[in-house]
């Protein structure tokens, strides 16, 4: 990549000096090696002609905020794209902080593309509202579509999926990740015609109905010999797994359904045999309702596993320890806190290739800890796993000392998300805030791109973050800080910040207004249950025409209260599409000052 860049840099210098002897096609060819969106954007800014060349040959379009730009603008700028990735709702929508009906509708995008881009091959959507109508339009308009990925989307039913199955003859990947699907019946699978054999990846793990057409599923799996990824949903019982695996021994990624059945030796040996025949398996998931005695059936494949998602498996530490000790090549582990500190210590000694760890709470709303999972587990993993880069960890206690140790152990963290379950929990040893601990994280982990804070935190932690977290792109803050200074440190110091989401912090108008220009260099800012007044929102909206300042307030119109009243939720994002018009009644976009729009 560096070689290409220095070459490009040289080329751009030549171009600027108008000594450029090569035709555009050469540049186009060179650009084809540049896949990342960021790099493509950089290339397009070198000069006007590079912008032109690049836009005609961009094949993959990424829109991080579907309201930052309009469908028409995208289709005008990139007339030849084949793949589109769109993201809709703010991240906090995952935790129900964004009321239903806020927006993020994909339909207008599909309509725009349907006419002009019949050759579209890939559609990837995240946190968008996708209706059956949209899916039907996709099915009708894009005969060449190969990849459809719906991640955290909602608004559609299995009827829409049936339309896709029936019409998309070239479909290779259908990936439903954590979607909310109205599961009307399992029969949509039968809509894949018998002649259809191109499936490479199918993920239906989020479908909740108990009905699955097993025969349709088995036939589909049987005839799609290129199938590499299959993630079943909970409805598929354990005794069907063996049948399916036998039809698809070439699978690389597999997600079970319910991993429970009456203990029967024949079922067990059937299952173990089926797993053994899968020589290519690298990733396993599913494992709902695990009956521990059936776990050893997967041991034959464990040595090759690089990814294991046990985050639904309510198995206890001893079984988990046994399991991970069979997986020396594990790179990615998702698990419940049943693993406990002891399990994480075992993980640290068995899995030296571990890169990503996520530990979820089994009893998130309980007041008392139900498992022995503390900061010690995280310290152990940070110490024992030299390649660990990404962590999501829920626990109930933490200390500055532990965080400093972790930071020093693992300066290569790129993602560090710590959730201490009780808000504003202090260092359990010293009763101090955890400022120093998180400060160490940002100081030592110079490549940190994503950080989520928790525990008792003052403005000081934000001072550290502003000072050290120069590569930080996304920051999540909750129940932290003392004053606007905190927010000011972050907005003024974190040069790479693109996404900032804040809830329940005493941040108000001053920092926001003082750093208004910074907001145009970020994708978005979310603030809920903070102290930003309606007056400040209006002012920001007026002064910054390239920002949409959305006030979300279910208590009623903000102008029915004094201007100094804080708004409930605030979502600010940069846009070149102007205010949107698909808002529900509880969302208001602050108006731009008309005189500024003319300048």
């Amino acid at each position: 990549m560096c070689v290409v860049f220095s070459f490009l840099f040289g080329l751009s210098l030549m171009h600027k000096k108008m000594e450029f002897p090569f035709p555009d096609e050469v540049l186009e060819h060179i650009f084809s090696f540049i896949q990342s969106d960021k790099d493509r954007n950089s290339v397009s800014m070198v000069c006007k002609s590079w912008y032109e060349i690049e836009r005609w040959c961009r094949r993959k379009v990424f829109v991080g905020n579907c309201y930052a730009v309009s469908p028409r603008m995208v289709s005008r700028r990139f007339p030849e794209f084949r793949s589109i990735e769109l993201k809709g709702k703010p991240h906090f929508a995952d935790f129900n902080l964004v009321p239903d009906g806020w927006g993020g509708y994909v339909f207008p995008w599909i309509v725009e593309m349907a006419g002009a881009f019949p050759w579209l091959e890939e559609i990837k959507l995240k946190r968008m509202v996708v209706t059956d109508e949209s899916l039907e339009l996709i099915a009708k308009s894009f005969k060449k579509v190969k990849v459809l990925v719906l991640s955290s989307c909602e608004g559609f039913s299995t009827d829409g999926l049936g339309a896709i199955a029936a019409s998309c003859k070239n479909l290779e990947e259908l990936d439903l990740v954590d979607c909310e699907v109205d599961d009307l019946s399992g029969h949509w699978l039968s809509h894949f015609p018998e002649s259809y054999t191109s499936l490479v990846s199918l993920n239906i793990s989020c479908l909740v109905s108990d009905e699955v057409s097993f025969s349709a599923l088995e036939r589909l799996v049987g005839r799609c010999t290129n199938l590499r990824t299959l993630r079943l949903n909970r409805a598929v019982p354990l005794d069907k797994v063996a049948d399916i695996l036998r039809r698809a021994p070439q699978l690389v990624e597999f997600g079970t359904g319910t991993y429970a059945a009456e203990l029967r030796p024949d079922v067990y040996s059937d299952l173990a045999g089926a797993f053994s025949s899968c020589k290519e398996l690298k990733s396993l998931s599913g494992f709902w309702d695990v009956v521990p005695d059936y776990l050893p059936a997967i041991y034959p494949v464990c040595s090759k596993l690089t990814s294991l998602n046990l985050s639904y498996a309510t198995i206890q530490s001893p079984e988990l320890i046994k399991l991970v000790s069979h997986c020396p090549n594990l790179q990615r582990l998702l698990v419940l806190d049943y693993i406990e500190d002891s399990g994480l210590e075992a993980l640290a000694s068995s899995c030296k290739d571990l890169q990503e760890l996520r530990v979820f709470p089994s009893d998130p709303y309980g007041v008392e800890p139900n498992v022995s999972l503390t900061e010690r587990g995280l310290v152990a993993v940070s110490s024992g796993c030299p390649k660990l880069m990404s962590v999501l960890y829920f626990c109930r206690q933490m200390s500055n000392e532990a965080l400093v140790t972790i930071a020093k152990n693992r300066p290569n963290f790129t993602r560090f998300r710590l959730c201490i379950i009780e808000p504003r929990t202090a260092d359990y040893l010293t009763h101090e805030p955890l400022d120093v601990g998180f400060g160490a994280i940002v100081q030592y982990c110079k490549e940190l791109q994503r950080l989520s804070l928790s525990g008792l935190l003052t403005d000081r932690v934000f001072e550290y973050i502003g000072k050290y977290a120069k590569k930080l792109e996304m920051l999540s803050v909750a129940f932290a800080g003392d004053s606007d200074l905190g927010l000011h440190h972050v907005l003024s110091g974190c040069e790479s910040l693109r996404k900032l989401e804040i809830r329940d912090c005493p941040f108000g108008d001053k920092a926001l207004l003082a750093n208004a220009a910074r907001l145009e260099t970020m994708r978005s800012l979310w603030m809920s249950s903070c102290a930003v007044s309606f007056g400040a929102c209006k002012l920001l909206g007026q002064k910054m025409p390239r920002l949409n300042v959305e006030v979300i307030d279910e208590r009623g119109p903000p102008d029915s209260r004094p201007e100094s009243c804080p708004v409930d939720k605030l979502y600010i994002y940069r846009t070149i599409a102007g205010p949107r018009f698909d808002m529900p009644p509880f969302v208001w976009t602050m108006e731009d000052d008309p005189s500024l729009l003319l300048s």
């Binding site: 935790f95 009906g101 909310e180 989020c206 108990d210 319910t258 709303y365 829920f394 279910e554």
Partner: protein
Amino acid sequence: MEGALVLLGDGGGGSSGVSTNESAVLSKVEVVSEAESELELGLSLGGGATGKTKASNSSWEENGRILTAKDFPSSVVSQRTNNGGPSSVAVSGTKRSAESISHDSGSPTAVSQVVGWPPIRAYRVNSFVNQAKTQRGDEEVKPKYDLKKKHNFNGNEKGHLGFVKVNMDGIPIGRKVDLNSHSSYETLAQALEDMFLRSANSLEKEPLTMASKLLDGSSEFVLTYEDKEGDWMLVGDVPWRMFVSSVRRLRIMRTSEANGLAPRFNETSGRQRSKPI
């Protein structure tokens, strides 16, 4: 940060710095009359049929009320509170209830009352809460292999234990409400009132006329729900936990349409409802 605020950068349109005017904008307080008449319509499950009562802290007006089974003579008196003790209702439900009436141990429900915290996605909570409650503390993990038992999980069939969809007649956008965060019909009613009727007042378009009809008292709303068997019932007639275990979705229905419900309810009130597990 003391002193005048400065909007940094070029800003838009070259406006020169922030004068004290803008500070004044920020610091001025508009005095708004508290007595401003903003008729707020209430969901009422308790109280009498006449609207004058100020039910607890709900701000509902005489003219707007959502009727429930209580208003019908033959309704069964609903059991409002959880009885506490071990229940088959998801434990997270009791622990999350704002009321916490049912919380046996009396320990504070600190974490539980905050929306969206801890930051775990709903599907994750829903899926393992069902498993965890039976397996927590057990030496031996009890197998849950009987698929038929799945429907006994508390929550609607969709498996989204906490969240059910709510639609209100005349409002195109449905909402979702987390049943786990309520332990009684009252709090649910309050939440729905906040969600729908306040917004209705602020709408510019059609629903405003609907609201004004409500103000006339010429039409009212009823809260109904669709149960697991697909029947539409009036909310409030069964004990809360039974309701939670059988509700699939909610609908705030115009009384005119719901009239058919009441007699039907009467007919079916004698139906043997299966006891909650």
